[in-house]
């Protein structure tokens, strides 16, 4: 009988201790601490994998297609580990480091009253009306040197807006590749801008002549050995013109030219 009392007494004691304010605060603190450590450790450990997924699935698949065209050794994980994504302030050509790259959507930003600006009419050869203040650029490195600069370009074709990426070599002048991943041009006519043999012609062309973007699609056949022109597409004159216009806009003073010049200086 006595023993039983002691036992119940001790249970009461431990229960009272368990529910004391001190123990409550202690347990709450400890549990939160352990849980937060676990959650943040997982987040940190898995971050590279998440970034890789985002790159691969999150709209950057198009870039991988472009890199395939450059005939770069295509190993997705390898390419991703060597790719740097930056946001560039187009007006100054400087990198904007304080932006969350994964959250930034250049296409949406163009419509935004704060993040987008109207393009002056006489400069707007790409016929886009507005553009974002900031553009995402992709830098592909090799042995810690930048080998390719990949720029998003877009503008009006014949029927639709063409969206693509242009890869330049590290001199900021020589084209490494071009690929449109989204357009609504007529299949078989303007749609021929998807044709690999035509896309291959861009490689090695020069963008600038004395600081002016002169790269273009010729009306018919490009002059032999031309440094700035590629063949026109028969039946797709207007689409070709659209490509010329949008490239000249994006490589011009209102596009990436300030950035490319700054990039060139920093490389020297």
């Amino acid at each position: 009988m006595q023993q039983k009392n002691i036992m119940t007494g001790s249970i009461h004691l431990s229960r009272a201790h368990k529910d004391s304010v001190k123990n409550t605060v202690m347990v709450a603190l400890l549990v939160s601490l352990i849980c937060s450590v676990l959650v943040s450790t997982t987040a940190v450990l898995l971050k590279p994998k998440h970034l890789e997924n985002q790159l691969f699935y999150g709209g950057h698949r198009n870039i991988l297609q472009l890199i395939e065209i450059i005939q770069y050794d295509m190993n997705v994980e390898d390419v991703i580990s060597r790719m740097d994504i930056k946001v560039v302030d187009l007006a100054t050509g400087e990198y904007e480091e304080n932006m969350d790259i994964s959250q930034y959507n250049q296409r949406e930003a163009a419509k935004d009253p704060v993040l987008g600006i109207p393009v002056p009419e006489k400069l707007d050869t790409a016929n886009i009306g507005r553009r974002a203040r900031y553009a995402t650029v992709y830098l592909l490195k090799e042995n810690s040197y930048i080998k390719y600069i990949i720029l998003p370009v877009y503008g009006s074709g014949m029927w639709s807006t063409l969206y693509g990426y242009l890869a330049l070599e590290s001199d900021g002048n020589t084209v490494a590749g071009l690929k449109f991943h989204e357009h609504g041009e007529t299949p078989g006519l303007g749609g021929k801008i998807d044709d690999p043999s035509w896309l291959n012609q861009w490689r090695g062309k020069n963008v600038y002549d004395n600081g002016v973007p002169v790269i273009k699609v010729a009306r018919r056949k490009a002059p032999l050995g031309s440094k700035h022109e590629v063949d026109g597409l028969s039946g797709a004159t207007l689409t070709g013109q659209g490509v010329t216009n949008l490239l000249q806009y994006w490589l011009g003073e209102h596009g990436f030219q300030p950035y490319l010049e700054r990039f060139h200086k920093s490389e020297e």
Binding site: K18, D19, S20, N23, T24, V27, A28, V31, S32, C35, S36, L38, V39, T42, A43, L46, K49, H50, N53, F56, Y57
Partner: protein
């Protein structure tokens, strides 16, 4: 002891199934069962959260103050869910996109909290482990049945592999569009409950007290 463990583990599969008997976790059971692959992933997520949640709560059950016990359990469960979600996003990105918010919503899945509060708070670690695992697998069993039915009848495929050749590909099977919509999930779960209860009579609910006796007692 051994029998008890067996009962704890196997009970939730049929006799005490959390979905068909306790009718818990229905929300996710409807949402992620249009095809088998996301359903399987969801089952793995829920089973691991239920098991680990039970084990962790049971581990510290003697120290949890009763005034904040639910908050402690929710904290543990939500941390586990976040970890599972992160892992899924890292290693099964496309399917985890299909699961969207439903992995995160495991936090509010009644099955998990019901097990930590109702079982792990009062039982040892081993038993709690079996209980969590059993309930997770019980939920999984129903989800797999529902998802297989819906994918097979709704799209003619299982795990994305064509089983019944569709009429548009030259076969005979016309997919049942209803199967891809949420109501069909309800129907199948309802049919399952009917099936199990006509087989397992004790699961039938007690007839509710008739209303006229209530009226009489009020009058008197």
């Amino acid at each position: 002891m051994k029998n008890q463990a067996k009962e704890i583990f196997l009970g939730p599969l049929i006799n005490n199934n959390p979905v068909t008997l306790q009718v818990l976790g229905i929300c996710s059971a409807l949402a992620v069962t249009t095809s088998l692959l996301p359903a399987l992933l969801m089952c793995m997520a829920l089973t691991s959260v239920a098991t680990l949640g039970n084990v962790s709560v049971s581990l510290i059950r003697h120290h949890i103050p009763s005034s904040i016990r639910i908050i402690i359990q929710i904290t543990i469960i939500s941390s586990l869910v976040i970890i599972v979600d992160q892992i899924l996003r890292a290693y099964a990105y496309e399917t985890s996109k299909q699961l969207s918010v439903f992995v995160g919503l495991i936090i509010t899945n009644c099955i998990v909290l019901a097990r930590t509060e109702g079982f792990a708070m009062n039982n040892g670690i081993g038993m709690s482990f079996l209980d969590g695992l059993g309930h997770g697998l019980g939920y999984s069993l129903i989800l797999v049945i529902v998802a297989s039915t819906r994918e097979l009848l709704g799209a003619g495929t299982l795990m994305g592999v064509s089983i019944l050749t569709l009429a548009k590909d030259g076969g005979w099977f016309h997919p049942i569009g209803l199967m891809l919509m949420a109501p069909s999930g309800f129907f199948i779960i309802g049919l399952l409950i009917w099936l199990i209860r006509s087989w397992q009579k004790p699961q039938l609910e007690q007839t509710v007290v008739r209303t006229h006796t209530l009226v009489r007692s009020e009058a008197s």
